[in-house]
Symmetry: C2
Subunit: 234 residues, 2 copies
């Protein structure tokens, strides 16, 4: 195995990161997935990441502990209500309360450390700046600036090799992402996107993340396999 | 208290970060110190950080857990011998085994999250690119690139305010740093720099960090208050 054919893929267990992993594998990378147990209010996301990693067949899957609840400041880690029923325009307007302070900055920084120790220079992250929740750390200009900083910070960047942060979804619509993933055999039924699932893990269907996901399936013309609250499990 | 007069200071418990804290306080900042319990092989550094924070009188001191031992790849977190007896030229030549992969990238990223939640925009870090151990993440070009990435990643940077990463020591010699700290009343006896202390916390005197520190006191013409192995405690 060539050293250069290995990659670290940030895997949340959502639709975007599952598609990113499938794309990295389709490009010939031997993938190590990296997920963070960062104090999410529910565990369905991490369970989904394990299902996705297993389903797509990865080299290894690291679930790293990281206490972001101690930092706080987000509806995804604190006991703050997640907004629902927002229109497309509202979702795209400003930074919502589900934003987690510096999350992708922290995740990518830790990913670089794992990558460097594993002598891996390629990282994949499923950020998307089209159908997204207005998080600043999903924009391509952030990822470009981060790549530069990471290469200046590390042995990897200082000794001739360079980290490359791949963002294959960044300019795709949610529908494009879904069509791409379906073409690569991604089983979206095992992914989890909802910010406020029921105790059984069913999606609420009404938070920003559910609304973007539902619309994506609709626009892609692909049946939505998500189990929504109140619906019977197939 | 003005919001803008608050700062987060990264505090390791070493000579450089203690001086940085004293400088931030002297500039009028009300300081929150941030230290990381990152899996260092010994606890003397963290104990020193607590003494320094208390001695200089800070608003609060956060000691954040962060398992970098799980990542590995460094003599400071793994069971790898720390080099000793290296000349100034050898210390300056290349990246040593005491380099911790992506450490300042990770520390600064987490500091931005804490800062953002606390509505703080000023961060201080005691990096130094003159008398240093050849770590790439201590260079000004890294800090500048990081500042840009952090502002693109966050609500703070996206909504008009900006993170400012202060590096007051970056171009100072170790002797200058010591003279500055002495002028500001820093008690260097309570700081800890050694990479391989005795079980009692005495400095080895021979690792890169001890050698840079010893030479700094010598060149500054300041009596070295460090307790070295084999010496009686004053």
């Amino acid at each position: 195995m060539k050293e250069t054919s290995r990659a670290i893929v940030l895997l949340s267990g959502g639709l975007d990161s599952a598609t990113t992993l499938a794309l990295a594998i389709s490009e010939g990378y031997c993938c190590t997935c990296l997920s963070f147990d960062y104090g999410q209010r529910h565990s369905f996301e991490l369970e989904a990441s394990q299902r996705v990693a297993q389903s797509l067949g990865v080299e290894s899957h690291i679930i790293a502990p990281l206490d972001m609840r101690a930092i706080g400041g987000s509806a995804l880690t604190d006991d703050i209500d997640v907004p629902t029923g927002r229109s497309e325009q509202e979702i795209g307007d400003g930074i919502p309360i589900t934003y987690v302070p510096a999350r992708n900055l922290i995740f990518l920084s830790l990913a670089c450390a794992y990558a460097e120790v594993g002598q891996i220079a390629d990282l994949f992250i499923g950020v998307n700046a089209v159908d997204y929740s207005g998080y600043p750390d999903c924009r391509p200009e952030f990822v470009e600036a981060f790549e530069l900083a990471a290469n200046l910070a590390t042995k990897t960047g200082s000794e001739g090799r360079r980290f490359r942060i791949h963002t294959p979804l960044v300019k795709m619509s949610k529908a494009d992402i879904i069509r791409t993933g379906v073409g690569l055999g991604v089983d979206y039924a095992i992914t989890h996107s909802c910010y406020r699932p029921t105790v059984d893990g069913a999606a609420c269907g009404d938070c920003d993340s559910c609304r973007l996901r539902r619309r994506g399936f609709f626009e892609a013309g692909v049946p939505d396999p998500t189990v929504y609250a109140g619906e019977p499990v197939a």
